[in-house]
């Protein structure tokens, strides 16, 4: 009888992007599905083909950045293990909510993505005492733009605003 030897699973290659054959297959599926329901089925198939690669890239980038930061935190904070986080209700809820927001956010919108990432990390660390405000604040980040976040930070530290104002008055 063969003995089972634990081995490290091989590293998987990333999924390939859509090729011309994939597009042809998608269009063919759309055409066939469109015989009975011309507008609904083709639109679902085609729009999925259009949006899936970018959404997938956004989700992968979001997860990868979180993974690196959680790994960094794990080395500095005792007890912040994947096992502990998997049982952390607040963290799992926040991650699910923030991931949806991150996938909707343009990857160029670094400040908003950073706010979402920081929120998830703070919740993982237990830096956020009021559980009931967590969902509300994550919803706010989701609906806010970068300008909202910049304005709020500016109002919190108004000195740069004063400097800008004095500069305008001098001219």
């Amino acid at each position: 009888m063969n003995e089972l030897v634990p081995t490290t699973p091989p590293r998987l290659d990333p999924a390939p992007d859509l090729t011309a054959a994939d597009w042809f297959a998608g269009l063919a599926t759309a055409g066939v599905a469109g015989i009975t329901e011309w507008w609904a089925a083709p639109a679902a198939v085609l729009l999925n083909m259009v949006t899936a690669p970018l959404l997938s890239r956004r989700r992968d980038a979001w997860y990868e950045e979180l993974r690196l930061n959680l790994n960094d935190l794990n080395r500095r904070v005792a007890g912040l293990t994947p096992e502990a986080l998997s049982n952390n209700e607040a963290f799992v809820s926040a991650l699910a909510q923030a991931t949806q927001s991150a996938m909707k956010t343009n990857s160029k919108d670094k400040e908003k993505l950073e706010a979402l990432r920081n929120a998830v990390l703070n919740i993982a660390l237990g830096n956020f005492p009021a559980d009931d405000l967590q969902a509300i604040f994550l919803n706010l980040v989701d609906s806010f733009t970068t300008v909202h976040l910049q304005l709020l930070r500016l109002f919190c530290t108004p000195m740069p605003w004063i400097a800008i104002g004095s500069g305008v008055n001098d001219t």
Binding site: N118, N127, F137
Partner: protein, 55 residues
């Protein structure tokens, strides 16, 4: 106004001066961040364990 309506900043104007037709006070008046706004900023700021706040 989004920040104000959600309670993240405080309206320091007198009640009589809170005229919705004028946005002049947006640049003249001070708009201090409320306690709720500070909690919000704490949540979205860099964790202290990763180098502290970035406000």
């Amino acid at each position: 106004m989004d920040l104000l309506s959600r309670g993240l900043i405080r309206d320091s104007r007198s009640i009589a001066a809170r005229n919705p037709d004028s946005d002049e006070s947006l640049v003249i008046n001070e708009w201090p961040v409320s306690n709720l706004g500070k909690k919000f900023l704490d949540l979205v700021s860099n964790p202290p364990q990763l180098g502290g706040k970035q406000i």
